[in-house]
């Protein structure tokens, strides 16, 4: 690639003289891995603060794996090192949106770094996430989340989501693992890798991404294959998060039907639908008239009919008859008809938040114990090894 024919050689010569911004960070360990890549905990030496660095997996060059030897011979004559392949669309979205968005309840981007053929996004470091809190209560503490914490988390999430929606951004992957919480109890929505603008899309949102939202948090209209989806899909996910905070386990824990590689169209997630209707009851055309047009409506109609048992579910979670506000808000978030489902802005005005005592900025206020810190795994490469680069994903 260093040949004279390189169309970028003068630029690269100049660029190589610039300092590598990654050198300014000391790696402290790794936090998590996902489909997107890995997240590391690191020390930003210049600002003396701890940050999270998300390293995106670079897309594999599918072509070089699948082409025959003869074809690759002709294309690989000039370059022997790994071919440059594009960044994932999810990295693109997260880079683009996190750059623009600024809100106390959205994770804040500190820097973006493009080095060593990888994209790194540096975020503020958050000590907790909601999944970790829920699991701590479910397995170790074995008691419900304090109601002030539930209300505060829910309120702050709704504030963040109403900001996103006001800016024409759908998150499309809200779930407890993507809700970050600082040691001071401030809640931040993270992982915008599936988020995108819904203002004047050049093509329908469905065309570009067939499958969105982790199946347990996926709204009924998405499960029924609706193509024109709206901010209401995020509200359903918020309902699932609310329920999970109440019961400490996912409310609709369906078995995902795998999408076969190369399959056209989407797959009907029958088990997930079954889990939903067992609690919310089978949707009727009276409550959701436009359901008739949903592609998977016939599949739903052929399923066993269930009555609504949300009240019983709520009571089983230990919520007494006095908790009518919580039950009402839950019902509005789980409104089958996306057109009448409550918006994030209206959530903030719901009586639940008026009648519950909680702090709007700090979800740990009134909580008299401290949650364990995020678990950090040592990185197998010594810190000195990071001199040149962060380890490969």
């Amino acid at each position: 690639m260093e040949s004279l024919d390189d169309p970028m050689r003068r630029y690269k010569a100049r660029r190589s003289r610039r300092a590598d911004p990654l050198q300014g960070y000391d790696l402290l360990g790794y936090i998590a891995a996902g489909t997107y890549g890995r997240v590391y905990k690191a020390l930003d030496r210049r600002h003396g603060k701890v940050v999270a660095i998300k390293k995106f997996r670079t897309e594999r060059d599918e072509r070089s794996n699948s082409t025959t030897a003869t074809a690759s011979k002709t294309t690989d004559t000039t370059s022997t090192n790994i071919a440059w392949t594009g960044l994932s669309q999810s990295a693109y979205r997260e880079l683009a949106l996190c750059r623009e968005l600024r809100n106390p309840h959205i994770v804040s981007l500190v820097a973006t770094i493009l080095r060593h053929k990888s994209v790194y996004i540096v975020f503020d470091y958050y000590e907790h996430d909601l999944l970790q809190l829920i699991q701590f209560h479910g397995s170790q503490k074995r008691q419900r989340l304090p109601s002030a914490l539930i209300a505060s988390c829910l309120y702050q999430v709704c504030e963040g989501v109403s900001y996103l929606h006001a800016n024409y951004v759908l998150h499309r992957d809200l779930k407890p693992a993507n809700i970050m919480i600082t040691a001071q109890g401030s809640v931040k929505i993270g992982d915008l890798g599936l988020a995108r603008s819904f203002r004047q899309p050049l093509q329908s949102l469905f065309t570009s991404d067939r499958v969105v939202v982790t199946v347990w948090y996926r709204s009924m209209e998405l499960l029924l294959g609706c193509r024109h989806y709206t901010p209401a899909i995020d509200m359903w996910s918020i309902g699932c998060i609310f329920a999970e905070m109440i019961s400490l386990r996912p409310i609709f824990k369906g078995e995902e039907t795998p999408v076969l590689p190369g399959a056209r169209g989407s797959v009907f997630q029958k088990d997930q639908v079954d889990k939903v209707i067992k609690i919310l009851g089978t949707p009727t055309l009276a409550e959701w008239p436009s359901m008739r047009a949903a592609p998977e409506y016939p599949s739903l109609a052929s399923m066993r009919h269930h009555r609504r048992t949300l009240n019983e579910w709520h009571r089983r979670c230990g919520m007494g008859p006095e908790a009518t506000d919580s039950l009402d808000l839950l019902g509005r978030l789980f409104d089958y008809d996306p057109d009448s489902r409550i918006s994030a802005l209206d959530c903030l005005k719901h009586p639940y938040f008026i009648n519950t005592e909680f702090d709007k900025q700090n979800c740990f206020k009134h909580v008299d114990y401290v949650y364990p810190s995020r678990r950090i795994t040592a990185v197998d490469v010594p810190l000195a090894g990071q001199k040149r680069k962060l380890p490969e994903v």
């Binding site: 024919d5 169309p7 970028m8 003068r10 630029y11 690269k12 100049r14 660029r15 294309t75 000039t78 370059s79 071919a83 440059w84 392949t85 594009g86 960044l87 669309q89 693109y92 880079l95 683009a96 949106l97 750059r99 623009e100 968005l101 600024r102 973006t112 493009l114 053929k117 994209v119 006001a166 800016n167 024409y168 951004v169 995108r196 603008s197 203002r199 004047q200 899309p201 050049l202 093509q203 570009s208």
Partner: protein, 258 residues
């Protein structure tokens, strides 16, 4: 994403004064004609690839911003142009295949465009860094749609103003002015220079409209009239450059840079 323009990276990091642009570019004297030429080539590539106008215009803005960060002799300019279109297609969620972009670009610019797809991906990587990963672009089309109703533009006038906005992306206008100012300037260009498009209004109707226009624009406290005048000036120099440019000699000039 199109929330508040005043909070956008476009407003905060990518809007400049004329003097700032002159200072940044002091070494690149032939800039304006090379930029215009490449902009026209970018439009052609967009046409070949069936791109929507918004994708092409976003690519034009990426190209203008890129030239504030790299020197003209740094990279193959045709590769940079094609890469901007590829990036815009992704930023606007209309993703084109890298291979197809390279293939069409190589057809359009034989001998000039590197034919290896990996160069496009590599160039994309560098440009993302130079652009500071600011990929959300606010165009003047939305403001134009809003004011066209307010000022009752005929379909022909609207179309002409729309095209003026397309043209504006080939010069510094998007780096200098807010989308709203650009939309107003484009409308003025049409109302002043293309009176034949008014759909045969009666003299009284014309007078009425001009009255509404001057009164309401005077009342718009948020519209900076000096900016509007400067923007119209930029439009006029763009159109005079478009008429005077010798495209063949610019193409040779670019070849010299390679």
């Amino acid at each position: 994403m199109s929330g508040d323009y005043l909070e956008s990276t476009q407003h905060k990091y990518w809007t400049f004064t004329k003097n700032e642009l002159i200072n940044i570019r002091k070494l690149d004297a032939p800039y304006a004609r090379i930029r215009l030429f490449l902009g026209e080539q970018l439009n052609l590539l967009g046409l070949k690839l069936n791109c929507r106008q918004r994708v092409v215009s976003t690519a034009q803005v990426f190209l203008s911003r890129t030239f504030l960060k790299i020197r003209l002799e740094d990279m193959n300019l045709y590769l940079v142009t094609a890469t901007c279109l590829y990036m815009a297609s992704r930023a606007e969620e209309q993703q084109l295949h890298a291979r197809i972009v390279v293939r069409e670009a190589a057809k359009l610019w034989p001998r000039m465009m590197p034919t290896e797809t990996s160069y496009l991906a590599e160039c994309e990587f560098y440009l993302l860094e130079e652009l500071r990963t600011c990929l959300v672009i606010y165009h003047a089309y939305n403001p134009l749609i809003r004011i066209s109703k307010e000022y009752d533009l005929t379909p022909d006038e609207f179309q002409a103003a729309w095209e003026a906005i397309n043209d504006a992306s080939l010069c510094d206008i998007p780096l200098l002015f807010s989308p709203k100012v650009i939309a107003f300037a484009a409308m003025f260009m049409v109302l002043i220079l293309r009176p034949e498009l008014d759909g045969g209004r009666t003299p009284l109707a014309i007078k009425n409209r001009l009255d509404i226009l001057s009164v309401s624009i005077g009342r718009r406290s948020t519209l900076d009239l000096t900016q509007l005048a400067y923007c119209i000036q930029e439009f006029l120099s763009l159109y005079s450059l478009m008429e005077s440019i010798n495209r063949r000699s610019v193409a040779n000039e670019i070849e010299q840079l390679l």
